[in-house]
Symmetry: D2
Subunit: 134 residues, 4 copies
């Protein structure tokens, strides 16, 4: 398995499953969001403080490949990397089930920073994410 810089543990809750007993597709996006927010919190970035100073980081695009479904009660981990591509922050977020570390979903989330209502890079976010480019 490749290296990641952050990970968040979960257990599937039964209400997250649909009639087939497997996690509903949209819930993987919830797992990824929670992992991203915990990651950002771990860096000391404070979204509401940024927001009050006119800086917002928003998701602009998401892509998820569904490889294997998770079932009610299963333990899994969402692992994360982040890099910068031009004006976008790109999060790689992959979910593995804990029993055998099989890859369940591969996710890619693109986010941009909006400063005073305009798309713009934000030094503060870049430094916190450690994605500054040469």
């Amino acid at each position: 398995m490749q290296d990641y810089i952050f990970e968040q543990d979960f257990v599937v809750r039964d209400y997250e499953c649909d009639i087939q007993g497997i996690v509903n597709n949209a819930n993987y996006q919830h797992y990824m969001e929670h992992t991203r927010h915990q990651f950002i919190k771990s860096l000391g970035l404070d979204f509401s403080d940024l927001h009050n100073r006119g800086i917002d980081v928003v998701v602009s695009k998401i892509q998820i490949e569904y490889k294997r479904p998770l079932h009610g009660g299963e333990a899994f981990v969402c692992k994360l990397n982040v890099c910068r591509e031009g004006i976008r922050y790109v999060f790689q977020q992959d979910i593995y089930r804990c029993s055998d570390m099989a890859l369940c979903t591969k996710g890619r989330v693109e986010a941009v920073s909006v400063v005073n209502g305009r798309l713009a890079l934000c030094d503060e976010v870049e430094k916190a994410l450690n994605v500054s480019q040469a």
Copy 2:
């Protein structure tokens, strides 16, 4: 069937169902909330305007009896009445499936108004809900 003063139509979405193919219990609370908000909107009450003037209406207690489960794709209607009991606004919210108007859930939601951080009756809300008492 008794009389109600407001109703909201719905169709069960598959993602609202759990492994048994029936609507997850918590989703009935979502249906009831959406119905209540549509009702309040129909009265011309504007929550964000009230909030900006220091008035909040918050749910303090909820009770739901589950009679018959709804299944994916089924049409249903959430019907509503409201009255006042002392300091509380009490919403009666019952859900019927459309195919035979069988009662699926019986709900009772108590809400209170908080004015400048203190529990208090609010004339404006009372008048809009038409629950003023003699």
Copy 3:
């Protein structure tokens, strides 16, 4: 604080919060369901096995009192007791925030067992829940 026989730890996920930055009311029901299922699993009861033998345990009534709202990122614990009242299994499920153990919600969930399509007590469930009466 009173004694409980089971508890489950949680952290509020941001997507569980609504526009006021507090947990949406229906989500407390999700927290309570997950806690109940983890409790039942801890007892060794297997719902799908019971189901295959014609035994279902279903929620018939729920009541929640909302005392204090939880906010995004807050740690909390859902504590549980269970007893039997006649034909009903009654779960007391209370949620406390971890920072000061303040009571956030008080919940009461009634469930019944349905054996081969009829309401009936079920020895197996009763023994597992340890709620047999003299």
Copy 4:
């Protein structure tokens, strides 16, 4: 605006919004799923009947571009097209807000049919979707 072969109307429910008062990103996936299922139902395809005969259609990949956020109470429509690319059924699913028909999200959902546990094209599904190739 381009042509689509199916569309489903919605109104944003307040519980689908997050702290910023806009629809949480994962909920767009729910809207798209509900639209897809309503479309498939309109074609007369019966998933549970197919499933009982060993045929499952599963989502293998999803991509969503977020252009403009939807707010609580806003009416919107999810429009749909479908085509076949090799072994995959590709759904184009775009969401427009009704007030001005501005594009809110652009979605692409890839699904595959699994017949008796193996990836395979399924004549019955192809004909119903009307995506047979020369």
